[in-house]
Symmetry: C2
């Protein structure tokens, strides 16, 4: 690996910070700069890497791949198509139902501009998508299930934590999603059950109240909140701001993909894939970085266009040569 | 899917039978014939499919892909290079240390003859190889571990069962490999330990004695057999031929790949992949069939040469269109 892959980070939030850290673990890659809509904010945190405005396309030209770390809701639908016209990109766009539309938007832009755009990667979408496709192909037609928060602490849900914080009288809050073990067991046994969301997961809330807030009223407001909490078994714990800071500062998450189906005749097979992350954005970042390596290579091979994780030969994610992969991992 | 993919089975043993059954689960594929070195033997079992001699290259020409189901020790090193010159092939060659050599032999043959050869797939090598590569790429530099026989029954080892049957006085035998849970826990905790084989697995033997055989002597011969049993904790159960037939007729197997490593900073991530198979050859067969689909497509796209599971975009394994994959699985 003579020349390092020159990487840009676009957008500096949790995932952006994670990519910055992850790149240090990958000696074949080099962080060239962080591009932000609020470069002054970023400069307060970052000293050892150049910080640019997102509009600085000239600085961006020194890079080979840009890892887009903006939010899926408002940032990526705009930033993806914009940057794909200038540079190869990788993003973690996670609005599942809009992925086909996003792919169809990114693909012609990348093709026309001779770039490569890997979209919607990370762990879900990402590694979980890959395992759903493989499970369904290797156990033909098998239904695959996703469970989140399988480990003891559960998985921190940003969306549900945000929802809690919209309630009047809530000063701060965290929501952990937990898988329901009995549901996992039913899938493992090969029942291929129809499971409603509330039969698969329950929700645990840690809430810091504002002074004088009515705990009972807030608990009721939480447990009856449509879609977010109402259908689920929900536990609410009221804690102090100190306790929240001490025990709930991180972003632990993870989960599993599982499918169990026929191998033909009476034989059954089960495929299970687990990810356990101390930090959701840090994990997403590491996966994005491996995809940046793949994007760089695909572009070198002039295979322009948009890709998802299931469109890329897995060897492209590894810094190792093909000979090394065959010798060490096959 | 207008035209079905025409498949040949070459070699009719456990895996060959598994492929025959697995193809029935894949409506986009059609079994054109079984090719064997002992077609008369095969015809006794098979009525509804044409059975040919392996030398019948004319019958083979009606097929698009041949799934090579011969043994890794003596059959595939000869049959692989031979058939790759005539037709696209898929095989489960599992002599790990010789895979690079086998790849380098198959690759030019497939290229020169405008075929595609997918080598060394199944679950190990196969899905486990894929997960080792992904684990090492997504958790940079992480060591991945393979454990076998993680489920209660353990995993039936053909090689070790064969070794037991070579002992004088043994009428029949089965050997189950079991993972040692404490070793798995150490990996899960992120210790990245150096583990000797005997610290990872123990061995359980079910042995049917010949009339008048000396049980004590045979048990000692088993537990002291170099490489196979001596370094391992080994349990020997003597059972009747009836009990062996009733409780140990199948080929259950499976295991897991696990790696735990840094996400950067103090954050850690763990990736775990489990396969649990009622039947090892049936599972291998289903995975081979999905690879036959990929081989067919790669050849249609004129991407000739040899491939392993890490060289193929995972979407190629699925009967679903790219649009369907994005909509249903991403
Ligand atoms: N596929 C997966 O498995 C997966 C997993 C986790 C997350 N994700 C996706 O990753 C996306 C990003 O997550 P995130 O946690 O990094 O979001 P975030 O922290 O909210 O950051 C999103 C963007 O907001 C801006 N920003 C961040 N902090 C700011 C602040 N203090 N003041 C002003 N602007 C700020 C940054 O853009 P500027 O620097 O341009 O201002 C940043 O790129 C999520 O939307 C999610 O869809 C995907
Ligand atoms: N990658 C993986 O995960 C994985 C997993 C499991 C197995 N494998 C590989 O698959 C290979 C095949 O396994 P297998 O269990 O199918 O082996 P097997 O039953 O011994 O069959 C191997 C070959 O022996 C011949 N044969 C079978 N039964 C016979 C009989 N009764 N009399 C004469 N010949 C007979 C067949 O060839 P003819 O029809 O030409 O006579 C057959 O193709 C193994 O060597 C192993 O390497 C790989």
């Amino acid at each position: 690996m003579s020349q390092k892959i020159a990487v840009a980070i676009i957008g500096y939030g949790n995932v952006g910070r994670g990519v910055q850290t992850a790149l240090k673990q990958n000696p074949d890659m080099e962080l060239m700069g962080i591009f932000s809509r609020s470069p002054e904010r970023v400069k307060q945190d970052v000293q050892d890497v150049p910080v640019y405005s997102v509009d600085d396309l000239q600085a961006l030209q020194k890079c080979s791949v840009a890892i887009l770390c903006g939010g899926s809701k408002n940032d990526l639908p705009v930033q993806g198509p914009h940057f794909a016209a200038h540079i190869s990109t990788v993003d973690s766009y996670d609005n599942h139902s809009c992925i086909p539309e996003y792919f169809n938007k990114m693909n012609p832009i990348a093709r026309d501009n001779k770039t490569v755009s890997v979209i919607s990667t990370g762990w879900d979408p990402g590694t979980f998508s890959l395992e759903r496709v493989l499970g369904n192909a290797f156990l033909p037609g098998t239904k695959t299930y996703g469970f989140y928060g399988v480990s003891e602490k559960g998985g921190l849900s940003m969306g549900h934590s945000d929802a809690l914080r919209t309630i009047e009288g809530v000063a701060d809050a965290r929501q952990y999603t937990h898988a329901i073990p009995e549901a996992i067991e039913r899938v493992r046994r090969g029942e291929n059950p129809d499971l409603k969301p509330e039969e698969m997961h329950w929700r645990e809330c840690y809430v810091v109240l504002e002074d004088g807030a009515d705990a009972e009223k807030i608990e009721k407001e939480i447990t009856t909140m449509p879609a977010y909490f109402a259908p689920y078994k929900t536990e609410v714990h009221f804690i102090s701001a100190e306790e929240l800071k001490e025990n709930h500062a991180g972003f632990p998450h993870g989960g599993m993909v599982i499918g169990s189906g026929s191998l033909g005749g009476t034989n059954r097979g089960t495929i299970e894939y687990h990810n356990t992350w101390d930090s959701n954005p840090a994990a997403t970042a590491n996966i994005l970085v491996a995809h940046a390596r793949a994007a760089h290579r695909l572009r070198e091979e002039e295979k322009f266009g948009a890709y998802t994780i299931v469109d890329i030969p897995p060897a492209y994610f590894s810094p190792k040569s093909h000979d090394e992969l065959l010798a060490e991992f096959l």
